[in-house]
């Protein structure tokens, strides 16, 4: 999409083709324009909004000044008029425009920033608005309000919009017609309703099927490879599981002993310190959390960003020290262990992170990343045994021998996450904590990883704590759900109860905000 506005950076270049812009019988090929000519189109006739709103604003200038700047370049007269700015901000439904005008970008929330960026894009009422993953970094509730705003602006200003997203739910809500792309090639195009009802290419089918369902639960999710290899996607494996068998499993789990008990867990971070080092303002990330995890159970923790899910995870692993409370693993309070005992225990509790790029050392090959873990906990294994073990682990997570000697930057996102999983299970843990481990992956890779995790749960008798902001993923994975908001547990129970019949206001809001198709 950047190529349309000639924003491609060297060494990339547009290799032929044309992008024709028509304005009242007058057609121009945008790609043939000079740098100077195209500048009058950018922002003026074609507006653009990006995925990362925080990165798109200059951090050392106030928002108001940056917006004025944008107005000035296109229309010098009205620039100094503060009312103009206020009108603009109220157009994008910002509640207190004066405060926003006087703020720096880091002082605003993600949703507010996204609105400011939209305001910048629509200053000159462009005819086309290109929205590049505008809601990807936002949580569901903010996402919904931004989408509504874009919808109303579209009809108010009579714009056309190109909406780029990997989230089919969002597309279904926003788009009239859809173009599906894979590896730089258009795979399928058509009216939104047609494509969603009757997809033709395997890739589109996989995208639609690979998304777990919020209302029902299946044993496995079909993936692109399944479709390519003609696996029967109507088999029982992919059909929704009967409620009866879900209930049975939950009953069995209920009788299992507790693997993990968390009592009164609290953690706060100091934001500001007084003159003598006394904390004067702090954020309570986790507040008096109590939870139990049964052996073999998969516990889901849901919440928007900033709700303390990740802090809870690192407290359970004793990667951070808690202010108060205890975490008992198999009846043993892990906060009371000394360094050496804790290191031995680490073998039993493993974690997988969201950040697939950062979780592997960039200077280490796949083999040595896993090798280090084995060397620590199985010192008796010799080099060859470890190598064989690594290869068998990689095969277990769906990688092959050729991935052994690759560096992280030579692997795709899904492959990296598989390596992380292989490293985690190499120690034969009893508890696996998955901290948003699929939210950075696209839908079909997400399905593969989720299938893999469920297989591992059955093969290795793993218990899991599965942290996610995506309720449909949680529904597919989990036996029990906790819903967290600002450090506290708001609601907990079985998925079939919570998702069908939420008790709390917050849960209802969360459910209503999920885009669906």
């Amino acid at each position: 999409m950047l190529s349309i506005l000639q924003l491609i950076e060297s060494p990339g270049e547009v290799k032929g083709g044309s992008a024709i812009y028509c304005d009242q019988d007058q057609c121009t090929d945008l790609l043939s324009l000079s740098e100077k000519q195209i500048a009058s189109y950018r922002g003026n006739k074609i507006g653009m909004i990006y995925q990362q709103a925080l990165a798109a604003f200059n951090p050392v200038q106030k928002i108001g000044r940056q917006l004025t700047e944008a107005i000035k370049t296109h229309n010098a007269k009205s620039a100094e008029n503060k009312n103009h700015l206020r009108n603009l901000l109220s157009k994008v439904e910002i509640k207190n425009p004066d405060r926003v005008i006087d703020s720096y970008s880091h002082q605003l929330s993600g949703g507010q920033l996204q609105r400011c960026m939209i305001a910048m894009a629509i200053i000159n009422s462009p005819n086309i608005l290109i929205a590049d993953e505008p809601t990807t970094g936002l949580d569901v509730i903010t996402q919904k309000s931004v989408l509504q705003l874009l919808h109303s602006l579209k009809s108010k200003l009579n714009m056309s919009m190109i909406f780029i997203s990997h989230d089919l739910g969002v597309i279904a809500e926003m788009a009239d017609s859809v173009v599906v792309m894979k590896d730089g090639v258009i795979v399928e195009r058509g009216k939104t309703l047609d494509i969603f009802a009757n997809p033709k290419s395997n890739y589109t089918k996989a995208l639609l099927l690979a998304r777990p369902n919020i209302t029902s639960k299946s044993k496995r999710l079909p993936t692109f490879d399944d479709l390519e290899n003609d696996v029967d996607i109507n088999s029982d494996l992919f059909k929704p599981i009967e409620l009866q068998s879900i209930l049975e499993r939950q009953k069995v789990l209920l009788n299992n002993s507790n693997l993990l008990e968390v009592r009164d867990l609290s953690k706060s971070y100091v934001v500001e310190k007084g003159l003598f080092g006394k904390p004067s303002s702090q954020v309570q990330a986790v507040k008096n959390i109590n939870l139990d995890l049964k052996c073999g159970e998969v516990l889901g923790i849901v919440g928007e960003s900033g709700s303390g899910k990740s802090t809870l995870a690192s407290l359970i692993l004793n990667l951070e020290s808690a202010d108060k409370g205890s975490v008992s693993f198999k009846g043993q309070n892990i906060f009371l262990l000394d360094k050496k005992e804790m290191r031995t225990l680490r073998k039993d509790i493993q974690i997988i992170f969201q950040d697939v790029g950062g979780a592997l050392d960039p200077k280490m090959k796949t083999s040595s990343s896993i090798d280090i873990a084995l060397r620590i906990h199985y010192p008796s294994m010799d080099k060859k045994q470890r190598r064989d073990k690594i290869i068998s682990l990689l095969k277990q997570v769906g990688l092959t021998e050729k991935h052994v000697d690759r560096y992280p930057h030579e692997l795709s996102g899904g492959e990296r996450q598989r390596v992380c999983i292989a490293r985690a299970i190499s120690l034969q843990p009893q508890l696996l904590v998955c901290d948003e481990c699929v939210s950075a992956l696209d839908v079909s890779v997400q399905a593969q990883i989720l299938n893999l995790l469920l297989d591992l749960r059955d093969d290795l008798d793993l218990s899991m704590i599965f942290i996610s902001h995506d309720l449909s993923v949680i529904n597919f994975m989990c036996d029990r759900i906790l819903i967290m908001k600002s450090g506290k547990i708001v609601e907990q129970g079985y998925p079939q109860d919570i998702l069908q019949n939420p008790q709390e206001e917050y849960t209802r809001k969360l459910l209503a905000a999920i885009p669906s198709f």
Binding site: L319, R346, I372, C420
Partner: protein, 394 residues
């Protein structure tokens, strides 16, 4: 590790590698390039390799040639001989040649023609030989001084960057006791004439004992602000110009030799390395792969050695390359001032200082100056290239 191939891909990198390897070859084969002894010769029907023999003598394996009888090889009637390109050793004062002979002036010493390719100095020492032999001294001083400053810099960088202010816990009373005894030891050193080495060892033993014992003591604990202490220490250290510290230290030491010089320069230059390493560690520590390493049960040592240092290395190499250039300059400037090594030890800086006595002898300034210039530029180019590679890979 950044491969040489990657450096070679840059224009500046090519220059840097070229010049540095040129000087390295000169330093390694200095004895074969500039020597008054022949590399190979035939005397009275026997074949000799005097330059190689010299190494044997140096190691104590071989005895002197008795027939030499305090004469130089060049005074003997040799049947066949291959001499080095420069027929002088750096320190030797050639009685036959006059002082301040111009570049490429040649003379006969009765047996053969010798040539001062780059001229000679006030007492008839050959400049070319001085530069060639000086290369070895300059490079080894720079290399070992950097090695020492790297070691010190690594220790302090890791202490302040990785452990920081909030991970080393200490018993309060043990800490106060430690401070008291350290002051006591150094008081003894300065007033009761303890030896410097004894005081240093006692301090070191005391510090390690307290660090080992104090977590086991219990009692009132506090976090030792290592980062704070080390950073303030560096700031104090940096606030005094390096050359002044150097001059003061050299004034204390009665007879500076090459080793004391290495140690002193090494002690002067560690702070930059410590600072850069600290900054890198602070950045790297936030990465998830460090958390992952903790989660699989790596010890602090394993995390530092396996993950942090390899990832910090590219930026460190840049600093080390620039530091190398600085060290060469520092060494040259103290030799120029004539306070470094003794007068017999010829280095680039000491030849350069000769030029102060006779301005018309331009070759005394130009050739060693050019050598210093080339080496420093090459190091800076190397630093630039490493920096560029580092930036691109991020």
């Amino acid at each position: 590790m950044i491969g040489l191939k990657k450096i070679w891909a840059f224009r500046k990198g090519k220059w840097a590698l070229g010049i540095i390897s040129f000087f390295l070859v000169i330093a390694l084969f200095a004895d074969f390039i500039a020597n008054e002894k022949p590399i190979y010769c035939k005397y009275n029907g026997e074949i000799y390799f005097p330059v190689l023999h010299e190494y044997g003598e140096g190691l104590g394996l071989l005895g002197n040639y008795e027939f030499l009888n305090n004469k130089s090889w060049q005074e003997l009637q040799l049947e066949e001989a291959i001499f080095p390109i420069i027929k002088f050793s750096s320190g030797n004062i050639d009685q036959n040649s006059s002082a301040y002979s111009r570049p490429s002036s040649s003379f006969e010493n009765g047996f053969q023609t010798k040539k001062h390719w780059l001229g000679s100095d006030s007492i008839g020492r050959d400049v070319a030989a001085g530069i060639v032999q000086g290369t070895r001294k300059t490079l080894s001083i720079a290399f070992f001084a950097m090695l020492i400053s790297c070691l010190i810099g690594f220790v302090f960088g890791v202490l302040s960057g990785f452990f920081g202010d909030r991970s080393v816990r200490m018993n309060l009373w043990a800490f106060i006791g430690l401070m008291f005894f350290i002051i006591l030891i150094w008081f003894q050193w300065s007033y009761n004439h303890w030896s410097f080495g004894l005081a240093l060892i006692a301090t070191f033993v005391l510090i390690s004992a307290v660090f080992f014992l104090s977590p086991r003591l219990g009692g009132r604990q506090f976090y030792l602000p290592l980062d704070l202490i080390i950073m303030r220490m560096i700031e104090v250290f940096k606030s005094v110009p390096a050359l002044f510290i150097l001059l003061a230290l050299l004034a204390i030491i009665s007879k500076p030799n090459i080793f004391t010089l290495i140690v002193i320069i090494g002690i002067l230059r560690w702070s930059t390395i410590a600072r850069v390493l600290r900054a890198e560690l602070l950045r790297l520590k936030e990465n998830k792969f460090i958390t992952s390493a903790k989660a699989i049960g790596s010890t602090d040592k394993q995390i530092i050695v396996n993950h942090l240092l390899p990832n910090a290395l590219p930026s460190l190499l840049t600093v080390i390359a620039f530091g190398f250039a600085g060290t060469i300059l520092l060494e040259a400037s103290i030799s120029f001032l004539g306070i470094g090594l003794s007068a017999e030890e010829v280095t680039w800086g000491s030849i350069l200082s000769e030029a102060r006595n006779n301005f018309s002898a331009w070759w005394l300034a130009v050739f060693p100056g050019a050598a210093i210039f080339l080496m420093v530029v090459a190091c800076n180019y190397l630093g630039d290239t490493l920096n560029e590679i580092n930036l691109r890979s991020n």
